[in-house]
């Protein structure tokens, strides 16, 4: 599913939207290289509206498998909106409306026969503010397993594995039954990451996961993100450009108004962007 994924996908889903084809670039295609070989997620002409306001305009980009893709841009440019449209968390916002295609392994997740609950079991999410449940650390991590019916067998082992992967096990090993709310902010966020990865999704979406944390906790999360990308596809929103530069393989730059302006390898974006506006943004001239 890695090297020839792009080719076979084009063949297998020409009818899925009927409107656009993978091979041709659309009007909305951003600068840079919006196509990747091993895309897990492909956004094609994705528009998102909140009531009458359009928050995203024809977003066109691919998200590669087992890489870290960063979404950067000034606040209000639609990064969170794009992230939420990947696992259909936008469905929870009454006034939100999505048009265009958002494909996961070639299947448009907005097709009628896609169950958003099933989708979210494949695509986990970590939020800006740590949001552990007022339950024990163990029950927090096991929650995804429970709701997905994956809590047969050794739940405890699965909980420990998830905590281990989230680089939290050492710190909480002997207090698994105490409340998740008693942890520090950084630990809570790693707990939320453990909760997201325990049911073993393919993709993890992270919306500014470190923005509420101090620098030490932030750098732990950053290390963790890089490690997670060995097993998972990670999409991370950040408004911190150094962070994007440090941890991501691909970077998408959204600019005000909800446009994806440039998408490319992170090195390319930070060293030699094609768009002058992106360059201005990267060098701190605005935003």
């Amino acid at each position: 599913m890695t090297t020839n994924g792009g080719g076979s996908r084009t063949v297998s889903t020409p009818e899925s939207s009927g409107s656009r084809s993978d091979a041709t670039m659309t009007d909305n295609a951003p600068l840079g290289s919006p196509r990747v070989d091993d895309a897990v997620i492909e956004s094609r002409g994705l528009d998102v509206f909140y009531g009458d306001d359009q928050a995203l305009h024809g977003i066109d980009m691919d998200i590669p498998e087992r890489k870290v893709t960063a979404l950067i841009g000034p606040s209000g440019c639609g990064k969170s909106t794009f992230l939420r449209s990947i696992n259909r968390m936008n469905d929870l916002i009454d006034i939100a409306r999505v048009e265009g295609d958002l494909r996961f392994h070639g299947k448009n997740v907005y097709d009628d026969d896609v169950d958003p609950v099933a989708l979210r079991r494949k695509i986990g999410m970590v939020f800006q503010k740590p949001n552990p449940f007022p339950k024990s650390i163990r029950d927090n991590v096991a929650y995804g397993l429970r709701v997905q019916g994956k809590d047969d067998g050794d739940v405890d082992a699965k909980v420990r594995t998830a905590l281990e992967r989230a680089a939290l096990l050492d710190e909480v090993e002997d207090q698994l039954d105490s409340s998740g709310l008693d942890l520090s902010g950084g630990q809570q966020q790693r707990l939320c990451i453990a909760r997201a990865i325990a049911p073993d999704p393919e993709v993890i979406l992270m919306d500014e996961p470190a923005s509420a944390l101090d620098p030490v906790a932030t750098s732990k999360i950053e290390d963790l993100v890089e490690e997670l990308s060995e097993e998972y596809t990670v999409v991370i929103v950040t408004h911190n450009m150094q962070q994007a530069a440090r941890i991501s393989d691909k970077t998408a730059v959204f600019l005000t108004g909800g446009h994806l302006v440039e998408f490319d390898d992170t090195n390319k974006i930070f060293e030699n962007p094609e768009s002058d506006r992106v360059e201005d943004y990267i060098t701190g001239k605005f935003g």
């Binding site: 929870l92 609950v117 079991r121 939320c192």
Partner: protein, 300 residues
């Protein structure tokens, strides 16, 4: 003005505004005082009237037509059947309201899509909360007592009280549900929970203290209501406690009402004793509500 005071201009103005503020504080304090004094006077009067009349016999004996029986050295008479009646009444009402009230609130708040119909229903529920209790009494009489032939029974009384407090319970439950942070819902949806799982595992546990508080406070209003159960036909002097759902029943407010209307002046003391018992039960229920709220307050 020998020294240069940078705050010189505008000082008078500040002083005048302060004075207005002080007057306002005075008015607010006086209002508070009126309320407190009235309450204390009321309590003092009831306690004074009932002094010596609230005995163990009063709590454990059925009522009597003869006032001497209520005296400490009498044969023993009291409010027992009405206490049992009120407790059964409230227990049944609690069961009905929790299912109907929480069910309706969860539906309106979590499931029903925003629509004009929903706003219309919600506005009406809010209005129903203000309908006088005697109207619910008439409704109960027409529907439960006569309509479905439950007669003047415990269950007819409980259903009538349920109608009375249902709107309040629905509104307060909706508020508790609304106060559950969205971030908690998102956390559950984010790991692939269905809407039902989110409501069961995250929303209801979190809203429970608020739901309980609202429900208990409503029930403590119901337990003191006289008009609706009067309409439904609760008995005044009943000498036995109800022993089935369809049995006739008495309740504390009815009993107190009966005593207060009797001609012998001593019965005023008996009525006062009944009021003390009723108020004690009310205070206990409210205390439980406050305990629950403090114990499960997510901010603590």
């Amino acid at each position: 003005m020998s020294t240069n005071n940078p705050f010189a201009d505008g000082t008078d103005d500040i002083e005048r505004k302060r004075q207005i503020g002080r007057v306002f504080v005075g008015i607010c304090f006086a209002s508070t005082l009126v309320g407190i004094v009235a309450l204390v006077a009321l309590l003092a009067d009831v306690i004074y009237e009932s002094w010596g009349w609230v005995t163990w016999e009063f709590l454990t004996y059925p009522p009597s037509q003869v006032v001497e029986n209520f005296l400490p050295d009498g044969r023993g008479a009291g409010i027992y059947p009405a206490i049992v009646g009120s407790i059964f009444l409230i227990a049944l009402t609690a069961v009905f309201t929790i299912f109907l009230g929480v069910g309706a609130a969860v539906y309106l708040e979590e499931y029903a899509a925003d629509s004009q119909l929903k706003s219309f229903i919600e506005a009406n529920i809010a209005n129903l909360a203000g309908v006088p209790s005697i109207v619910y009494g008439l409704l109960g009489l027409a529907i439960f007592v006569r309509g479905i032939q439950l007669g003047s029974s415990l269950i007819a009384g409980a259903l009538t009280l349920t109608l009375l407090i249902l709107p309040i319970v629905i509104v307060s439950t909706q508020e508790s549900l609304r106060s559950v942070p969205d971030s908690q819902r998102q956390a559950a949806y984010g790991v692939g929970a269905t809407q039902w799982q989110v409501i069961r595992d995250v929303v209801l546990p979190r809203a429970l203290p608020g739901i309980m508080t609202g429900t208990i406070l409503s029930l403590s209003r119901a337990i003191g209501e006289t008009a609706p159960i009067l309409m439904v036909g609760a008995a005044t002097s009943l000498f036995v406690s109800p022993d089935s759902l369809t049995a006739p029943f008495s309740a504390m407010p009815m009993m107190i009402f009966e005593w207060a209307t009797l001609p012998e002046p001593e019965f005023q003391h008996v009525a006062a004793a009944g009021i003390v018992v009723l108020l004690t039960i009310l205070l206990l229920m409210n205390a439980v509500a406050i305990l629950i709220r403090n114990k499960y307050d997510p901010r603590s």
